[in-house]
């Protein structure tokens, strides 16, 4: 015990007598660890935020869009470049097993006017099931009913941002008349804000698709189907997602009279698939950010080695004295090695706090969402100790091998 306190006091005195140098030595490690923590927290935060957004879309959601899927060779249509899906397709899909709800969606950008307020918003023609499929609920008023959908009632449900723009000062929009392009609709409800960033429902309004077909010109396919922009549906159980995708693919290929060799003229994506792709992309990005930050940690480590070498040189005489007093090679070696790792450990701890503070500031003032996770903190501190041991090894070994007589003679 006594031996240990003595050992640490030896090292402590060595460090505090060179305060400025010790500080400069660990500065590289501090910056390295802080940047690892900050960048990883930004990566992890973004990942979590995107996953939350996707979850808010509903994890059992499948979206079908017109256009060719990825294929090889030949001419390929872009996403949404062709109009191949119809409301009749949607009705057919609704008959498939494990499909709980289906809604065709048509979108159009229209000018909305209420009194002296106006805005341009995306108007989505949907059916009554759309809200359930996309986890949308009303904050006030009601959603339109299936009856209203069937009859093509002139009603609208507003996204929360649209509602506050058109009805400022907390005016109640429910029951109010609103001009939508050339038509008048009545507001029946305002949606709960979702805050999601994927074509957020907050900035859109929703009317029955039938109403939209009456007020906005509707394209017809050669077979006479009502063209729709996209179809969204939900699956009873997420484990059935792939089966449903296969079933829908077969159904649509048959309905669109595609030959076996032809590419599909639609594209099916499940939210799970999107989530997996995005998580992977962000994971790669986070790793890249971490790797860049790790380089600065490495540079910090080389700085530690540099200073330790200088320190050994400067303290040659001290090493000689210690050896004359009976210090063995491993006493000298462990003294310098512990000194280096204590320095980098301290740098790691300070770096964690700095990184934490920076990521907090980033999340407060910046657009990034940040998340400091325990594994990153432990990793950063562990790596900083390892850097001390790794980069302190050579200087310590150098020190331990000094010849005591020559060391004593040095100035």
């Amino acid at each position: 015990m006594k031996k240990w306190t003595n050992f640490f006091s030896t090292i402590w005195i060595g460090l505090i007598t060179h305060k400025l140098r010790s500080f400069l030595t660990i500065l590289g490690v501090v910056i390295g660890v802080a940047s690892v923590i900050t960048l990883m927290s930004i990566g992890k935060g973004s990942e979590q935020q995107i996953l939350n957004n996707i979850q808010s879309l509903g994890s059992n959601l499948i979206t079908i869009r017109p256009g060719a899927s990825i294929g090889f060779g030949g001419i390929r249509g872009g996403f949404g470049g062709t109009r191949t899906l119809t409301t009749e397709d949607a009705d057919a899909i609704a008959q498939l097993p494990d499909v709980t709800a289906v809604s065709p969606t048509n979108s159009s950008s229209l000018q909305l006017i209420v009194g002296n307020q106006n805005t341009n918003a995306q108007v989505n023609g949907v059916n009554a099931e759309y809200f359930g499929i996309n986890n949308l609920t009303v904050a006030s008023g009601v959603l339109f009913s299936d009856t209203e959908y069937q009859s093509g009632a002139e009603v609208a449900v507003l996204g929360s941002n649209v509602a506050t723009t058109l009805f400022p000062n907390n005016a109640n929009p429910i029951g109010q008349q609103m001009r939508m392009g050339m038509n008048i609709v009545q507001v029946t409800g305002v949606l709960q804000s979702k805050g999601a960033s994927f074509g957020s429902a907050d900035d859109a309004i929703f009317i029955p698709l039938t109403t939209m077909e009456q007020t906005v010109a509707v394209q017809r396919t050669a077979q006479g189907g009502h063209v729709t922009g996209s179809i969204s549906l939900t699956v009873s159980d997420s484990s059935q997602t792939q089966n449903v995708i296969d079933a829908v693919t077969n159904l649509l290929r048959n309905r669109h009279l595609l030959s076996a060799s032809a590419a599909s003229d639609f594209n099916i994506q499940s939210v799970e698939e999107i989530a997996a792709t995005l998580t992977q992309t962000i994971g790669t990005l986070t790793l890249l950010l971490g790797a860049i930050a790790a380089i600065s940690l490495l540079v910090g480590g080389i700085g530690v080695m540099n200073i330790m070498l200088v320190s050994v040189l400067e303290r040659t005489r001290e090493i000689g004295i210690r050896k004359a007093l009976g210090a063995r090679q491993r006493d000298i070696w462990s003294q310098f090695l512990f000194e280096a790792s204590l320095l980098t450990f301290a740098g790691g701890i300070i770096g964690v706090f700095v990184g934490w503070a920076v990521s907090y500031i980033v999340s407060k003032v910046g657009t990034f969402h940040t998340l400091v996770t325990a594994d990153v903190v432990f990793l950063a501190v562990g790596v900083s100790i390892a850097i001390g041991i790794f980069f302190g090894f050579y200087p310590a070994w150098n020190a331990s091998r000094l010849n005591p007589i020559e060391a004593l003679r040095s100035e």
Binding site: K2, K3, R317, I321, L325, G326, R328, Q329, D331, L408
Partner: protein, 222 residues
């Protein structure tokens, strides 16, 4: 205590070799007070370094306390330095950032463990009980050398080796240091080998060994 038999020391100097000691035979008994004298380059310091196990002889046998030490490993030699030998240097060799007390404690660090009470006792013995918390820079040369003596005696070694202990001191401080060393010899019967230029200091010893060109020129017992 010390038995040198035909000890030689050769340093490689590039292509040539420099023979510093050419077959030295010395026998020093326990409790003896011996001075080694000789001109610069006669091999005094090398001889003392060999006695202190800071270096290994090129050939010959060195019995320290009847134990052959000329072929021991670095670690074993370090152990002997720590426990058996107390060094006193011309340039004191104190650590400037440590207090007098911490410097004395440093002498015990590698010799079994620090005992603050013993360290204070040792500083009291050399007349520095009032200055234990001073750093070397705040002490006079004589005081610094007394701290170094305290650092050596605190671990109670069987052999003291002093390399020109008064070389950097004025005559008054030099006499003080020598009187401390001789009184340690008188009271505790320590074995002390000291290298000096100064015949007045050598006269305090029981035996003077004269070196020249790596050989013993003559020995005289006082």
């Amino acid at each position: 205590m010390i038995k040198f038999e035909n000890i030689t020391k050769v340093y490689p100097m590039g292509k040539r070799e420099l023979t510093v000691l050419k077959g030295i035979n010395i026998d020093i008994k326990k409790g003896e007070l011996v001075a080694i004298m000789g001109p610069s380059g006669s091999g005094k310091s090398t001889l003392l370094n060999l006695m202190g196990c800071l270096d290994k002889p090129t050939s010959g046998s060195y019995l320290l306390d009847d134990r052959e030490v000329s072929h021991l490993s670095d670690g074993e030699l370090a152990n002997i330095r720590g426990k058996e030998i107390g060094f006193i240097f011309q340039t004191f060799n104190l650590l400037s950032r440590l207090t007098a007390l911490a410097n004395v404690e440093l002498g015990m660090t590698y010799a079994g463990g620090v005992d603050r009470k013993k360290a204070i006792e040792a500083l009291t013995k050399v007349g520095l009980s009032e200055r234990i918390h001073h750093r070397p820079i705040e002490l006079s040369g004589g005081e610094q050398q007394r701290v170094a003596i305290a650092r050596a005696i605190v671990k109670n070694p069987s052999l003291f080796l002093a390399d020109e202990p008064t070389g950097q001191l004025d005559s008054h401080s030099g006499e003080e240091v020598i009187s401390i060393l001789t009184s340690l010899h008188a009271e505790h019967g320590i074995t002390l080998v000291l290298v000096t230029h100064d015949i007045n200091i050598a006269k305090h010893c029981q035996r003077i060994i004269q070196l020249k060109d790596g050989e013993i020129l003559r020995e005289e017992t006082l």
